[in-house]
């Protein structure tokens, strides 16, 4: 019977200042003190592991509430992720189109096919030109006849109304709108050239739209991150209220705020992690649903474009960001609400 109290005989002096270090583990016995170094870390880790598993178990006991909270977070995270994917894919697509920027150099009427070929050769010698192609008036007419279905009407024409055409593909690093415009100016000054067309406006507009899109993704990330903080914060706040008695008892037996807060922080992180995984699932499902039709559509345009998915680091950011936001949200809620629960206040 006396056994557990045998240690009472320790000197009282070291006990007096122990209160000043509330977070230090209390050495149960003098003889154990040299082991607090490594033992402290092991204990600390095992305490965290306990909270980690314990909080998960608590969430699992209320699957409906937990699932709904995670679903809301998941949808909130999926939205900016999908927006981000849209923007990246459109950018990739526009990159493909930019490669196909072409100048159309129309020769004056009456210029011969040879003149067209020498013009093409002159242009091709330039360093900013990758290749040229001559489309003679006859070829052009043939193509037009085949494509338009105006065959009989064209037959009524005495002369071929079409000029010879040289198409020019700029070198890959000369496809910016400015470089293309410069090249067009040079070609326009060459002898026998009637007109040069280089339609780069749509490329500029597309890039402008993509910039807007990227800004939208950023705004969506901020707005939805705040909403996740609020969602998790509110859930944890209710949780803290429901468990106020437990918190009070813990405080009465000497638990520090950190100790009491820990399981709530882990709950928040679990909510965020679950939401992040769900968001990843939503994104993958959307990609899966869209990839077929997109590939078919690309095929119709003669492109081998395929929808790009989330990169591994993006996926990690999504899930990790969710967990971090959950942790932060619960931390804010815990700091705000736990202080109000003090023993004696309720009486």
């Amino acid at each position: 019977m006396v056994r557990p109290q045998a240690t009472r005989k320790r000197p009282p002096a070291p006990k007096r200042d122990r209160g000043a270090r509330p977070n230090r583990r209390r050495a149960p016995r003098k003889a154990r003190e040299p082991r607090t170094g490594s033992g402290g870390i092991v204990t600390w880790l095992s305490r965290h592991a306990q909270s980690l598993v314990g909080s998960l178990g608590r969430l699992a006991r209320h699957p409906l509430n937990t699932g709904m909270t995670m679903a809301v977070i998941g949808i909130a995270l999926a939205l900016p992720a999908l927006l981000h994917l849209s923007v990246t894919n459109i950018r990739a697509l526009s990159g493909q189109w930019r490669d196909s920027v072409e100048l159309s150099v129309y020769l004056e009427h009456g210029r011969s096919e040879d003149e067209a070929r020498s013009l093409a050769a002159a242009l091709e010698r330039r360093p900013d030109v990758m290749e040229t192609q001559v489309v003679t008036a006859d070829e052009a007419l043939g193509q037009f006849r085949a494509a338009s279905g105006f065959g009989p009407a064209l037959d009524a024409l005495e002369d071929n109304p079409l000029p010879h055409l040289v198409t020019v593909r700029p070198e890959e690093n000369h496809t910016t709108a400015d470089a293309v415009a410069a090249l067009a100016a040079v070609a326009g000054d060459m002898a026998g050239v009637a007109e040069v067309r280089a339609d780069t406006d749509w490329v500029r507009r597309l890039h402008g739209m993509l910039d807007v899109g990227r800004r939208l993704v950023m705004l969506a990330v901020i707005v939805l991150a705040v909403s996740i903080l609020l969602i998790v914060g509110n859930t944890i706040r209710l949780d803290i209220q429901n468990r106020s008695q437990e918190i009070e008892v813990q405080k009465l037996v000497g638990a520090s705020n950190g100790f009491i807060r820990r399981p709530f922080l882990y709950s928040g992180a679990w909510y965020g992690l679950g939401g992040g995984l769900l968001a990843l699932g939503i994104v993958q499902a959307a990609l899966w649903a869209l990839s077929g039709p997109v590939a078919r559509l690309a095929g119709l345009y003669g492109s081998d474009f395929r929808l790009a998915g989330l990169k591994p680091e993006d996926a990690l950011l999504l899930v990790g960001g969710g967990a971090a936001l959950g942790w932060l949200g619960s931390g804010i809620a815990a700091a705000r609400n736990m202080r109000r629960i003090e023993p004696g206040r309720s009486e």
């Binding site: 009472r8 009282p12 006990k15 122990r18 100790f259």
Partner: protein, 227 residues
Amino acid sequence: MIRFQQVSKRYPGSGDALSELTLEVDAGEMVFLTGHSGAGKSTLLKLIALIERPTRGQVLINNRNTSGVSRRAIPGFRRDLGIVFQDHKLLQDRTVFDNVGLPLVIAGLRRKEVGKRVRAALDQVGLLDKEGSMPLALSTGEQQRIGIARAVVAKPPLVIADEPTGNLDPDLSLEIMNLFCRFNEVGTTILIASHDLALIERLGRRRVELKDGRLAADSHGPSPGHA
């Protein structure tokens, strides 16, 4: 162990719950605190547990002035204190083992050590076989014994109890008080607020009576011995 020096406590909107109270309890003593409800018993205990702070005067616990204990230091301070409540304040969703072990887990003891000490404490209150039960499955008297086991498991030098037998019939009350006596015999200082005068009489320990927040009587009973 406990020293009150001219302590007054005034709650906003009411009179003094304690006024100019001076009281000393030595280490190893077992003291009963009596008085009508509203006499200041609970307030006195709350001042010891730092649930409340005195309006005037000083409270020293274990030679330490409580006015020097900052908010952040309160948890560490409470770990050297065992508290028993009238309604035992057990966590209903945790087992008896987890309830009793809570102060040790908070103090950061290892699992093995926690298990050893929890079983020793449960053994002392005679409920070793209930460690896996939920508190609600136990009788009121058993729940109170679990509450006591939790208060003493970390071997605090001082245990305070607020009406620990308030909800119990006389036989169970005596059993609980005997339990406190046993812990006192091995050196724990014990302060119990109670209005069960007949029972206190029987135990023959020191009795401090409060009236309107003042010391009304202080009878030094026989020094610690068997009841």
